[in-house]
Symmetry: C2
Subunit: 351 residues, 2 copies
């Protein structure tokens, strides 16, 4: 509507003075300042932050790309980012990639055109091309939920390998030996891959043979979790426990198990990954590997802001601690005990 020039005219000062009362009021004489404020009232002046961004080449905007804001774990980290960003006078433009490379790359482009000052990319399968151009241009960005621990790209994440290991270990402590995994999709990020490695390694360390039939690579969703258990449970020799690569899968698996008439956790132990808010309130409450999502977002935003502020670019890598939260969806093996003894007897018999 009305601009700085209108205000200047009404107040009888120059536009520079108006600009100063907006940005450095103390640099302007008290009387003039008052006059300017009054003039602003008069013409209902509204500051134009976009014009300012244009003039200063600072948009005070972050771009944020998540697979889908619909997943509570990403909503959580998004809050962490927003809260920090807003506090620092930044706003965030949010885009969804749906785990698709093309959408992600497109979004990066769109956001850069919009002159966001930096990008937070949450779990990525960006091809080298996009990443390289970001790097070449020294464009500030940080990866969230990332597994990278070195190299030129800043990243914050958790130790997915360790998380997978701990989850599996917990199950083994409860005497499970036949442990399946709903592993997520390997093509869309390497987090699921690392969790799977942790699982495999833990099996190995405990002298449990790895059975590839027990790991299902599926997309992260309730539906896939539900289907997953059903197929697992129909095996001649079904698992007594499942490690799910995220909570959606775990929650879906619980629902599926129930539909299949399996009682939880007695007949099937389930552990998830993420610890989304609802995990503690379902029945049975979900045992899971907690990721500090909010903190991760907050930290990512902090790092990004730091990159924006400093011309020398020094990548930083942060690994946040996960935590095994033991609740009710896991218990010591039961059905398998029978099996176990039976097998033993048979092997004695056979010897």
């Amino acid at each position: 509507m009305s601009t700085i020039r209108d205000v200047a005219k009404i107040a009888g000062v120059s536009i520079a003075t108006v600009s100063r009362v907006i940005n450095f009021p103390e640099k302007v004489g008290i009387e003039t300042r008052k006059r300017v404020f009054r003039a602003m009232e008069v013409c209902r002046y509204k500051y134009n932050a976009l014009a300012r961004g244009f003039a200063t080449k600072r948009s005070h905007t972050f771009g944020l790309i998540v697979p889908t804001i619909t997943n509570p774990i990403f909503a959580e980290s998004t809050r962490g980012i927003q809260d920090f960003a807003n506090e620092q006078g930044y706003q965030v433009i949010l885009g969804n990639s749906d785990y698709q490379y093309e959408k992600e790359a497109k979004m990066v482009e769109v956001l850069r055109e919009r002159q966001v000052e930096g990008l937070i990319i949450t779990t990525t399968n960006l091809k080298g091309e996009t990443l390289k151009s970001l790097l070449d241009d020294r464009f500030p960005f940080v990866l969230l939920y990332s597994t990278v621990r070195r190299g030129p790209i800043s990243a914050v994440g958790v130790d997915n390998f360790l998380g997978g290991y701990r989850a599996t270990e917990h199950l083994i402590h409860f005497h499970h030996r036949r442990i399946a995994m709903l592993a997520g999709a390997f093509n869309c990020s390497d987090r699921s891959f690392h969790r799977w490695h942790g699982y495999k390694r833990c099996l190995k360390d405990n002298h449990i043979p790895y059975d590839p039939d027990l790991v299902l690579k599926t997309e992260y969703s309730l539906a896939r979790g539900r289907e997953g258990v059903k197929s697992l449970v129909s095996f001649k020799n079904p698992p007594t426990a499942i490690f799910c690569s995220n909570d959606f899968l775990a929650l879906g698996a619980m629902a599926g198990a129930r539909e299949a008439g399996i009682s939880l956790p007695q007949d099937l132990s389930i552990v998830g990954f993420d610890d989304m808010q609802i995990a503690s309130s379902v029945t049975p409450a979900l045992t899971t590997i907690r990721q500090p999502a909010y903190e991760m977002g907050e930290l990512g935003a902090k790092i990004l802001l730091h990159h924006i502020g400093n011309k020398v670019y020094k990548p930083v890598h942060k690994i946040l601690a996960t935590r095994l939260v033991i609740r009710e969806s896991t218990t010591v093996v039961r059905t398998m005990k029978k099996e176990f003894y039976k097998t033993k007897a048979m092997s004695v018999h056979g010897a």
Copy 2:
């Protein structure tokens, strides 16, 4: 980095021509066009959408305010908004109000300074002041999850009264007579208020006396749901069913009931409101009133875009249909039956 002028210089054309190849390539001779594209490659030209926005006074940006993106139901409608907006070349800046008036008002101001072309405000307790200034300025905005059905403000929402009525009615069909309500907070939006009215009315229509002790006005959260049941259940004459004003409350109530040793749904029926994604996958699966959140977001964005495009402002009000989704968390009253017969016997005795 490099601007349209650099490109122009390299290609040996005027800046207007470069601008034209970007916006109306067909208006430029094929040869020149090629030369310009080549020049862009050479200097790695990047389009500056912010400068364009400044020049055209169109930011191609929506502002979106939600209580918190952390609530899956708002994440759902946010996706609806984003998907439509992106498709139309718009981006969305997201802000959280945490159900607080001040934050909401602040966010409106910040977003307007940023020259968003319109605002989608999702459930608001905006005071007249802010709303009035939006209206006075003819600033395009639409309310989501709104209860307003007439007047100068565009709004889309559901019939909360009817939803509350239906939920209660469902419980009554199952012979519940002592029905509590976890009602949400009345000060932060009138949706909970309407749901409560639906509940009251349904009680009345069925000749069940309204007992104010049975309605707890609490904030929308798992924790409050959990606390809520516990207090309800400790009554000398506890309810046999609870209608919860949203799914968080309902899910929290289920967890709380379980902790109190109550078996669901036999001893306590629970119905929620929203139908968030997880509602169908918990145990027992939650009976709830479904709101079409994604569609609501999409529709809201459509209406907003329409307002932006048309200078004459004609407010529109849309009420989307809710649906009672019956699952497993509600069943015919059991414990109450005893009570019921006993009471009957007594009354006979007393007669």
